[in-house]
């Protein structure tokens, strides 16, 4: 497909959106805003130009694709048309696209209409990411299928691929959901699996904020030395048991020695 002047212009703009003005808008942003106000015919034309640009994604790096996607959304182009064209594009050019480009496009699709993207499609398209960039994969998978995402993250933690900043980022994004059952599941699973103090703190923070009780309570991480997951609680802590023992000893002592005083009732 030959590059028309308009497409080339837009491509340049995407690659180099220019400095932002006082209000924080780049030339690209301004163009998107201008598009929004265009009449149907001109709007259609701009839409075509943008869609044409999808053919050039091989020249784009991941941030450029993000910018393109933002541009399309901001311009208020028909989501349905763009979705279909994009999906078709990914399917056709799957092999030509880099993994990150695929990732960006799929994320774009998910944002446009998650329901129309199947889990299998996501998993298949991005399969190599499981190893290359597992946390990005986890993120996008969780967006499509949170429980699958949780499963994958659990797998990551279990296999020793957990990383605090990534996990934190993932938990934070998960906690944006309104699905309390999901949140409870996330909190409980991760708190059992991940002994990291800050992660525990983060989860308890969110659980508190959403007012969710994680059951069983043992999910709370108490004793850092105790690596056996699932036994964390105050009542189970070494300290509390020490305390119990002390109380018990005192009482036991007193009971054992109550006969030191004559039982007056029977003494006479």
């Amino acid at each position: 497909m030959k590059i028309t002047k308009e497409v080339k212009e837009l491509k340049e703009l995407i690659l180099n959106p220019g400095p932002t003005d006082r209000s924080g808008y780049s030339a690209l942003d301004l163009r998107a805003l201008a598009n929004k106000k265009l009449k149907t015919e001109s709007h259609k034309k701009e839409e075509e130009i943008a869609i044409s640009l999808l053919n050039h994604v091989s020249d784009f790096k991941s941030p450029d694709i993000s910018r393109l996607i933002t541009y399309i959304k901001e311009s208020g182009f028909s989501e349905e048309v763009i979705f279909n064209r994009s999906l078709k594009f990914i399917k056709e050019k799957n092999k030509e696209l880099s993994l990150l480009q695929r990732f960006e496009l799929i994320r774009f699709l998910l944002q446009l209409n998650a329901a129309k993207v199947s889990v299998d499609f996501v998993q298949d398209s991005l399969a190599p990411m499981k190893n290359d960039n597992p946390w990005l994969y986890a993120e996008i998978l969780s967006e499509k299928a949170p429980y699958k995402g949780l499963e994958f993250v659990s797998y990551l933690i279990k296999s020793g691929n957990s990383e605090r900043s990534q996990l934190t980022h993932w938990i934070t994004s998960m906690m944006k959901s309104d699905d309390l059952a999901l949140l409870r599941n996330v909190g409980q699973t991760i708190s059992i699996l991940e002994p990291d103090k800050q992660i525990q703190a983060l989860i308890t923070h969110y659980m508190r904020k959403k007012d969710i009780v994680i059951a069983p309570l043992k999910a709370y991480h108490i004793n850092i030395q105790d690596t056996n997951p699932g036994t964390f609680s105050i009542a189970d802590s070494k300290e509390f048991n020490n305390f119990l023992k002390k109380v018990q000893n005192k009482q036991k002592y007193l009971n054992d020695h109550q006969n030191a005083t004559p039982q007056l009732a029977h003494a006479e």
């Binding site: 009780v213 609680s233 005192k250």
Partner: protein, 842 residues
């Protein structure tokens, strides 16, 4: 608690009881023989009664064995404290009109006082709880509470209230109580009969010294035989506890003459059913103790800004209860446990080191730092899990333990903001369930939180005890900030609510200075003393003490138609007032250091008597707003030798004991001031040696120099009110601003004043007079006025003393001439003589 004892000092009770009984037997014997002068702390026969105590190993704590050892007696002249307490208690019991019966203090009362460290009267909490446990054990009666479900021999609150009321109504008839004593068949039945409750209440009040034991004649035996039987122990006889339980039932009771009325029922209930808080001032604030709710637990909320002392309060309570065997579980959501343990070390009162029942290690403390944050719902479940475990682990074992462990454990949660950071009042139900779960811990639960939280969460409705700690004057750079302990709620019990002052630094640890009305009303039950008309202080009746002591009236040119110039009765309140430095302190000390003698002994007869008996020894507390200790020391012994001069008239008079309360200008609060005074007075009683006199020197100095005292109008009436509850003579001195007379005398200043228009501020002066006016109103059994004059004899500058008012007699019209340098009177003048000399001058 030592590990091998059920309660503090348990092992000392048999030997102490028997020793005190022996001593009381001897006291009775002396009284029967009319040899009451033998009732002194240095009587070797009485001292011998306590020999057995010396043999106890390990050696009991210092305050218990004080004065028992011959070296202390011979070298330091310190006699057994336990004996002093026994004699004081015996004499107190004799104040009751006995009509052919015998009244003695309960030996347990002596033991109760003995166990208290005099300088640290809050240790009474340990003593009381120990004596209480002993009593429960003897009578085999235990307070019913949630933990005590196993044993049938439990008493409850209504029974105690009935019994107290019964005692009170009997008292109105001036009789011994109770009507019925325990019958043989009733003893130790499963069901408890009222006479047993009466016996418990009677013995408990007797332990506190509010009642004494009464013995009348029984069958063939005379009262004297009955009381002796009570006190006698056959050597190697029956089991001590068993023996005592039989003896106990024979006792009846009478209220001590020292008490105007019985203590508040609520206080007795708190002391029998609650646990005392061994923190200075806490007994006043909590009316004797903290009483758990009927459900068992007790939830206390402590709120306040960061750094105000919440953690310190919680730790101090836990620390102070540790001798009872109370374990503390400190759940920190904030601070590291290590830091908290360090804090604990700094909070401990130094006296702990002297008390054997404090363990050296803090093995009563278990701290736990909870990492991260948690929601209230989750935390509630956590508490439930703990409560369940505690229940399982400890319930099966309750048995006798719960009879002695009133507060088996404390759980501190520091602090609950972590649970409720973004909380709103919609979550009230959750808070409610949280508190309910805390209750299930069946412990003293202390919840710490920042100031606004309890209000925001409406926690105050849910907890049993609400305390708010805050700072006052923290914004003022010219004042010392004051910490306020505001008790705003107690649900199950009597307490003194409102704002009290507290301190937490220094060697005394965490302590509360209760608000003034609280300090007063705890003394309200004690009878106010009237002046003692049977004795006289001859201080104003003698002149020329140092060289040639004679009756001062002999200085008159004519024969006065009376024996003495002034009858100065002891146990009175005296005001010495005047201009300039007339030697008022010296005069006041002379009044207080002169031993009172029987009213029928005249001045000329004094030389016929010997005054070496310890009963004549004076013990004076000097409360000084003016001078440091050395000033008074110089007056009494070192330079001016007031004591030696008195001794030259009163042959053999023992050296006085002087104690000081020197107050320096500054930000002393009225609460702290009154607290210091009462503590000093109580301390002396507990040492077995009450003060015979109190000197309040330099009242005028309060003006401007003690800002907070000056601004509180009630502090003076309160002070004199408190002082009147003790058995001593009070002298206050007040100097008028000498500014006044100097202005008149000195022309130069007079001129200056005219130039600068420096008219004295009358308002200021009036304000400065407030303490004086109060003293005049309250402390005016005698009112002496001193002013400078020129002696008609030799024209030298001397001071004239006139009596402005005097109790129970006509005011003498003559003036006495006071030689300030010698601290003695040297002349007596009639009004005519003064007038004559004045007219000669002009």
């Amino acid at each position: 608690m030592q590990n091998n004892q059920k309660y503090i000092y348990e092992h000392l009770f048999p030997v102490l009881w028997k020793s005190v009984s022996d001593a009381l037997l001897l006291c009775i014997k002396y009284k029967e023989q009319g040899k009451e002068e033998l009732l002194t702390e240095n009587n070797p026969d009485l001292i011998k009664c306590f020999n057995k105590l010396e043999e106890v190993r390990p050696k009991p704590d210092k305050h218990i064995v004080e004065g028992l050892y011959p070296t202390q007696q011979d070298r330091d002249g310190i006699y057994p404290r336990i004996l002093k307490l026994t004699i004081a208690a015996f004499q107190d019991a004799q104040e009751i009109n006995s009509k052919g019966s015998w009244l003695i203090p309960s030996p347990l009362h002596v033991i109760y006082h003995l166990f208290i460290v005099p300088e640290h009267s809050y240790t009474a909490a340990y003593s009381l709880s120990s004596c209480r446990s002993f009593l429960f054990n003897i009578l085999q009666l235990f307070p019913s509470n949630k933990n005590n479900f196993d044993s049938g021999r439990l008493f409850n609150e209504p029974q105690i209230i009935d019994s107290l009321n019964d005692f009170e109504s009997f008292e109105d008839q001036d009789g011994r109580w109770p009507k019925e004593i325990i019958e043989e068949k009733d003893r130790h039945n499963k069901s408890i009969r009222m006479p047993e409750i009466h016996s418990l209440v009677g013995h408990f009040l007797a332990t506190r010294g509010i009642a004494h034991l009464w013995f009348g004649k029984r069958d063939e035996a005379s009262a004297s035989e009955v009381v002796k039987e009570f006190l006698t122990y056959k050597p190697g006889g029956e089991n001590f506890y068993l023996d005592l339980s039989i003896k106990f039932r024979s006792a009846r009771f009478r209220r001590s003459a020292r008490f105007r009325e019985f203590p508040d029922t609520g206080e007795v209930i708190n002391q029998l059913f609650g646990f005392p808080v061994p923190i200075k001032g806490a007994d006043v604030v909590f009316f004797g103790g903290l009483k758990p709710s009927s459900g068992g637990g007790l939830i206390m909320s402590v709120s306040g800004r960061a750094g105000v002392g919440k953690t310190s309060l919680a730790l101090s309570i836990a620390d102070s209860l540790s001798p009872f065997g109370t374990q503390c579980f400190y759940l920190s959501l904030e601070e590291d446990i290590e830091d908290i343990e360090k804090r604990l070390q700094t909070l401990r009162p130094h006296v702990q080191k002297e008390l054997s029942f404090f363990s050296k290690q803090s093995n009563w403390f278990t701290g736990f730092k909870y990492e991260g944050t948690v929601g209230i719902g989750a935390f509630t479940e956590e508490i439930a899990a703990m409560a369940e475990k505690l229940g399982i682990e400890t319930k099966g074992e309750s048995g006798s333990a719960s009879r002695y462990l009133f507060c088996p454990y404390i759980i501190v949660i520091d602090n609950i903001t972590e649970l409720v950071a973004d909380f709103n009042s919609d979550h009230y139900a959750q808070i409610e369930s949280f508190i309910e779960k805390c209750r299930e811990l069946n412990a003293l639960v202390i919840l710490l939180s920042p100031e606004s939280i309890p209000e925001m969460l409406k926690i105050e409705y849910l907890v049993d005890i609400g305390i708010e700690l805050r700072h006052q004057d923290i914004e003022r750079e010219d004042a010392k900030p004051v910490r306020i302990f505001n008790l705003f709620k107690t649900r199950h019990q009597l307490s003194r609510q409102g704002a009290h002052i507290f301190h937490m630094s220094g060697r005394d640890g965490f302590r509360i200075s209760p608000q003034i009305p609280s300090q007063i009303d705890r003394k309200e039950k004690i009878r106010r003393n009237l002046h003692d008309e049977t004795h006289l202080i001859h201080a104003l009746n003698i002149m020329n003490d140092g060289t040639n002591p004679v009756n001062i009236l002999s200085g008159l040119p004519f024969n006065a138609e009376r024996n003495s110039y002034l009858k100065l009765f002891p146990r009175t309140q005296i005001l010495v007032h005047g201009f300039g430095s007339a030697g008022k302190a010296g005069f006041a000390l002379k009044l207080l250091l002169t031993p009172p003698v029987y009213g029928n002994i005249s001045v000329s007869q004094l030389s016929e008597y010997e005054f070496s008996h310890l009963i004549h020894r004076r013990k004076v507390l000097i409360i000084s707003f003016l001078y440091p200790e050395k000033y008074y020391n110089d007056l009494i012994t070192d330079k001016k030798n007031i004591h030696d001069k008195i001794k030259s008239i009163y042959e053999g008079l023992p050296d006085p004991i002087i104690e000081y309360l020197v107050l320096y200008p500054g930000y002393l609060t009225p609460q702290d001031f009154l607290n210091k005074v009462t503590r000093k007075l109580d301390e002396a009683t507990l040492k077995g040696q009450p003060f015979t006199g109190v000197l309040i020197d330099g009242l005028h100095n309060v003006f401007l120099q003690f800002e907070k005292l000056q601004n509180n109008n009630m502090v003076w009436p309160m002070l004199y009110n408190i002082l009147s509850r003790y058995n001593h003579t009070v002298v206050s001195t007040f100097t008028n601003f000498s500014l006044n007379d100097k202005l008149i005398e000195n022309e130069q200043i007079d001129k200056n004043m005219m130039i600068h228009q420096a008219v004295p501020d009358h308002l200021l002066l009036q304000k400065g007079m407030a303490p004086f006016l109060h003293a005049l109103v309250k402390a005016s059994d005698y009112y002496f006025f001193m002013e400078q004059h020129t002696s008609p004899k030799d024209g030298s500058r001397k001071y004239l003393l006139s009596v402005k008012s005097s109790i129970g007699q006509n005011v003498p019209e003559e003036f006495l001439e006071w030689e300030r340098e010698k601290n003695e009177f040297i002349n007596i003048y009639t009004l005519e003589m003064i007038k004559e000399s004045e007219s000669k001058k002009t």
